[in-house]
Every structure is written in structure tokens, then in C-alpha cells.
């Protein structure tokens, strides 16, 4: 099952996603939590802490800047760019803060 949580800023998307992820995991599902927010903080809600949350963002950034190689498979991506969260959830960050270059509207 693939679930996307969307909505206006500040309404509780991240909190909802983290509770869903951990709840499903507690009930025996294998759960991967994808943080698709450019301002990624699902890690904080899941409970991996500030440092790991920031490390995943930095890894994602390194990938974009060519300092890290892309993972050839889903499993390897989860291994290299993920972190273990409580209740057996595996977290990975698929977005990053944009650089300062002005872009299109």
C-alpha cells in the first residue's frame, strides 16, 4: 500500500504521516517513510532526532551535487540514504532544500 499525505502548511501532514508509519509498523507491516518535503522534518516526528534528520538532508544534498553516487536499486537506496526509526520504520529523504539560485516562477 502506498499512502501520500498532503495538505496546507501547518495542518499536521508530517505528524499524521509519522503516526501512520509507526502504527502500521507496530501492526506488523514493513514500512518505508518517504519525506518528500523540501523542508524535511519527518525525522523529528518519527523520533530519529535532529541530527539524523539533518544527516539525511545532507546526504540528499550531496547526491544532487554529485558528491555521492546514485543508488542503483531501491534496497541500496534505503540502505545508504535511509535511517532506522522507532518501531522498525525505515526513513529516507527524497527531497532537499533548494540552492540559492533564482529559478523560474
Amino acid at each position: 500500500m502506498k499512502i501520500a499525505v498532503v495538505g496546507k502548511g501547518g495542518v499536521g501532514k508530517t505528524t499524521t504521516a509519522s503516526v501512520l508509519a509507526r502504527g502500521l509498523s507496530q501492526r506488523g507491516c514493513d514500512v518505508v517513510a518517504l519525506d518528500c518535503d523540501t523542508n524535511a522534518n519527518l525525522g523529528l516526528s518519527l523520533g530519529v532526532g535532529l541530527e539524523t534528520t539533518e544527516r539525511l538532508v545532507a546526504l540528499r544534498q550531496a547526491l544532487d551535487e554529485g558528491e555521492e553516487d546514485h543508488a542503483p536499486s531501491w534496497d541500496e537506496m534505503l540502505a545508504r540514504f535511509g535511517a532506522d526509526a522507532p518501531d522498525g520504520v525505515r526513513l529516507t529523504t527524497v527531497n532537499r532544500i533548494e540552492n540559492m539560485d533564482p529559478g523560474c516562477p
Partner: protein
Amino acid sequence: MTSATQPVSADDPFEDGVSRRLRIAFVGKGGAGKSSIAGTLARLLAAGGEPVVCLDSDPLPGLATSLGIATSDAGIPDEAVEEAPEGERARYRLATGLTSEAAIRRYADTGPDGVRFLQFGKTRGHVAPLMRSQFAFRHIVADIDDTPWHVIGDLPAGTRQPFFGWAGFAHLVLVVAEPAMSSMLSAKRLARLGEGENAPLVAAIANKTRRDDDADLVSQATGLPVWASAPVDPAVREAEHLGVPIIDHAPDSPTVQALRSLLERLHNEERSSP
């Protein structure tokens, strides 16, 4: 008219010249209180007889309510832009002869106390009817320094727009942060807007504080000076439920008071800067 030719130093959020104008962008995590605060600050300025234009580049609603402008989704009409000639970087440019100032007068709504409100419109579905409007908005904002308005911008939640140059008009970026981990982490990331040459001054507003030391907490966690602090304020919630501006519903509420002090501070900085 103000002079746009004189450079503005990074630690001076005001223009040099005769009439110095505020150029402020509000950024921060979703729900931190950007729209509530931006709208209220704009109304306070306007109530003092100052010319203010508010910029809303959020495709989701927010700012119109705190200003007291009957909500409208409509953006800037298509006529404001024309196709740019082949080979130009942008696909559209402002219609021939249309200046930033004229565009604001023509297309910005007028609200209470004469406050003006310019938005590129609200998303209605997958289709992108906002494209021309967004280009118009970007072009108007690019030259907004040449206009005599105080500018208060309300950006969408998060880091995307700010880091893509949408706060580029600002001499002062105010990061709104709640004393909560994720809000402060977002604010810390946004503090990077103050890095580099020609970067704006960046300061924080601690919002929805519960304890006396919450402002210090925000300052420590974000590395930013806190220029204003507003407590969790039932009046703000009430105003939101009633769909009326905070400043009309509760002009003496702690939030409005905090923003009055902020405005005073901004004016003082203006007087004390060379």
C-alpha cells in the same frame, strides 16, 4: 519617489534616500503565523497613513483574511504580460509600457486603511492557469524597489520559494517560528537566506510562545536575533474562526501589541541608521 539607484547595505533594511520604505518578506514553516503577522503588520502601517502593498505568492489562501480583503482567488489578468521575444530567458514579460508602479495601482486590490494586496492567484486544480499571472507577479516584484510603497510579502510555507529567489525584493527577511522543534529547524534553514553578498538582513519572530524563555529558545535554536515575540493568543484564533482581521477583532491583543512594538523598532532602526 524613492531612489532605487543607491545601494542598500546588508544591515540596513531600509532604502537610503528621502522616503525610506520597508521591504519585508515573511517566511517560515507552515502554520507558524506568517500570514496572520504579515497582514496585521501591514494594516498597522496602513493605519498610520503609510502606503503599503502586500505581496501574496502563496497558491493557498491566507493573507487576505488577516488584511480584511474579501477573499478572491483571481490573480493578475493575462493582459499584464506579453510573450517575450524568442531567445529571451523568460517566456513572458510585462506588457509594453507597464511599469511595476502602474501594475500595482491597476491590479492590486484595495483593503481597509487603503492597504493594497497583490497576489498571483490561488490554485484551483492541476491545470496551470496561473502561469501568466505568476510571470506578471515576478516581473512586478523585480522592480518594486522603484516604487514608493512599503512592501510586505507573505511567502508560502517552507524553503522552496525563498531559496528560489521569491524573497529577492526583501531588505529584511522575518522568519516566523514557533518554539517547537520542527518550526525552529525550518527557521534555522531559512536563516541561510542571510548568507552571501547582497543578502538581506534576517531576523526571527517568535510566535505562539508559552513561556518567558521561549524567545531565547528560538534565538538559540535558529541563530537569529528575535525582533518580536507573540504569545499563544486566543484572540488570533477567534479572529480566524470569524474570518475577520486580527487587528479589527482585537486591536489590543498581545499579538497586535507585539507588532506595534516591532513597527516602532523598525522605525527606530530607520532613524538611527545613517
